[in-house]
């Protein structure tokens, strides 16, 4: 089943104002750079973005924040972004903060047809407000619901024309779960190979979860916190 599209323009066809998008990545690691640049170009507005972080001021989802394209962010940690903080504190931006593990599991649940599950994370905190609490094994848990999106946009290291994806290092992070949870899932990859070239034993995201795949034109792969030791 050939999922390959020509380029980012073709890949993002159908994304409209007011839609809910999931975007893979942790910090600036493993983010769909090419698609984000295209979202800026398309200038779609009033987006709800589900992504662990909100980028930095001048890269990643920060670019969409600069253009005021985002109405609501659903994230676990947004600390690296001054524009984000300004928009949130001024009330321009709605923000739903979710424990990171719950965010990951809620995306997986959305893709796996599990509408809700119990987790201990957040019990007794703001996160639990309005949520059902139940004791299991003597410990309180809260009921969390699945997340899905109109489009999920993920970034992989390698992919094949069937949409099978392989990730590298910690750039995997949220990408596989989000790929599962998109009504339409778009994958941008550093390297696109013909079907059959990836070892079927070692594919992280089976192509069934991916509707469109393209080779990204350019990957900047910016490093957020360059830390080194001396020899």
């Amino acid at each position: 089943m050939n999922k390959q599209v020509k380029n980012v323009e073709e890949a993002l066809v159908g994304i409209e104002d007011g839609m809910t998008l999931m975007l893979g990545g942790f910090g600036l690691c493993g983010i769909p750079e090419n698609s984000i640049a295209q979202l800026v170009k398309l200038n779609v507005k009033n987006l709800t973005c589900i992504s662990n972080n909100a980028g930095v001021d001048d890269f990643g989802l920060g670019l969409l924040l600069q253009g005021k394209q985002i109405k609501k962010m659903i994230s676990s940690y947004v600390g690296e972004n001054a524009e984000f903080e300004r928009q949130m504190l001024s009330g321009e931006l709605e923000v739903d903060l979710i424990p990171q593990g719950s965010l990951a599991e809620r995306c997986r649940a959305g893709g796996a047809g599990i509408p809700a599950f119990f987790t201990p994370a957040g019990f007794g905190t703001e996160v639990a407000e309005g949520k059902e609490v139940r004791i299991f094994n003597g410990k309180p848990h809260i009921l969390e619901s699945a997340l899905t999106a109109d489009f999920a946009i993920v970034k992989a290291w390698k992919g094949d024309t069937e949409g099978n994806l392989v990730f590298k290092g910690t750039a995997r992070n949220f990408n596989p779960m989000m790929a599962m949870a998109g009504k339409i899932t778009i994958a941008e990859v550093e390297e696109l190979v013909p079907a059959g070239e990836l070892d079927p034993n070692f594919i992280h995201t089976p192509g069934i979860f991916v509707q469109r795949i393209f080779k990204g034109e350019k990957f900047e792969k910016r490093i957020e916190q360059r830390t080194v030791r001396t020899k």
Binding site: G27, G79, E80, S102, T125, A171
Partner: protein, 218 residues
């Protein structure tokens, strides 16, 4: 004399046991990795998706695809594994990680912890902290005894929005090692040269002090 950050990290490192998987939070906890006792093997998990986190890379060997939960460039040890965020928190939530070390703004005597939000001032988000504190059987908090205004952060009750309730069992500060039991802080050790009186005066929560309080040994 009160410990510095490295001292706190060194004291926490003494709590490590052979064969443990350990998750270290950002800040002082990260330093713990530098002081693993001899003869002990532990493996570090970072919740963004690596087991077997190694030291920072040498200059020029940074890999944008290889970072820790603090978004710092890192390396991987021999036998490391990469995985997705759902698997990572399956490890954490499923209690496969034996020790979690993290920082805090406040800790209360029933084990509550607050470390993610100052209303109206700082809203960075909880990241993985809420999952970690709700799930870990063994949590050590690394923190300073007081804030910059000199107010105790070791409290009867947290004033800031909570990260988790009743989960902290041990706190290591620049002054003391405290255990939390039965709704009270128990003074277990004091930093070398620090008096019990100083610790008492800087602890707002109920503090149980035994007749003899040993000094930390490094």
């Amino acid at each position: 004399m009160a410990l510095d950050k490295i001292g706190i990290a060194k004291r926490i490192a003494q709590e490590l046991r052979d064969g443990w998987y350990v998750n270290l939070g950002i800040g002082i906890p990260t330093l713990v990795a530098n002081y693993i006792p001899e003869g002990i093997e532990v493996e570090f998990q970072s919740e963004n998706g690596i087991l077997g986190m190694g030291p920072f890379p040498f200059e020029g060997e940074e890999d944008a695809d290889l970072i820790n939960a603090g978004k710092q460039t890192i390396t991987a040890t021999k036998g490391a594994v990469f995985f997705d965020s759902a698997t990572s928190f399956a490890m954490i939530r499923g209690q496969h990680v034996q020790l979690t070390v993290l920082g805090a703004m406040e800790v209360s005597q029933n084990g509550d912890i607050a470390n993610w939000k100052i209303p109206g001032k700082m809203v960075k988000g909880m990241g993985g902290a809420m999952d970690l504190v709700a799930s870990a059987e063994n949590i050590i908090v690394a923190m300073m005894h007081s804030n910059k205004e000199g107010e105790s952060k070791i409290l009867k009750k947290c004033s800031l929005p909570l990260t988790g309730v009743g989960c902290v069992k041990k706190v290591v500060t620049e002054l003391a090692v405290l255990e939390i039991k039965d709704g009270k802080f128990y003074l277990i050790e004091r930093a070398p040269g620090v008096s019990v009186e100083e610790i008492k005066s800087k602890t707002e929560g109920d503090l149980v002090v035994p007749d003899f309080v040993p000094e930390m040994v490094f």
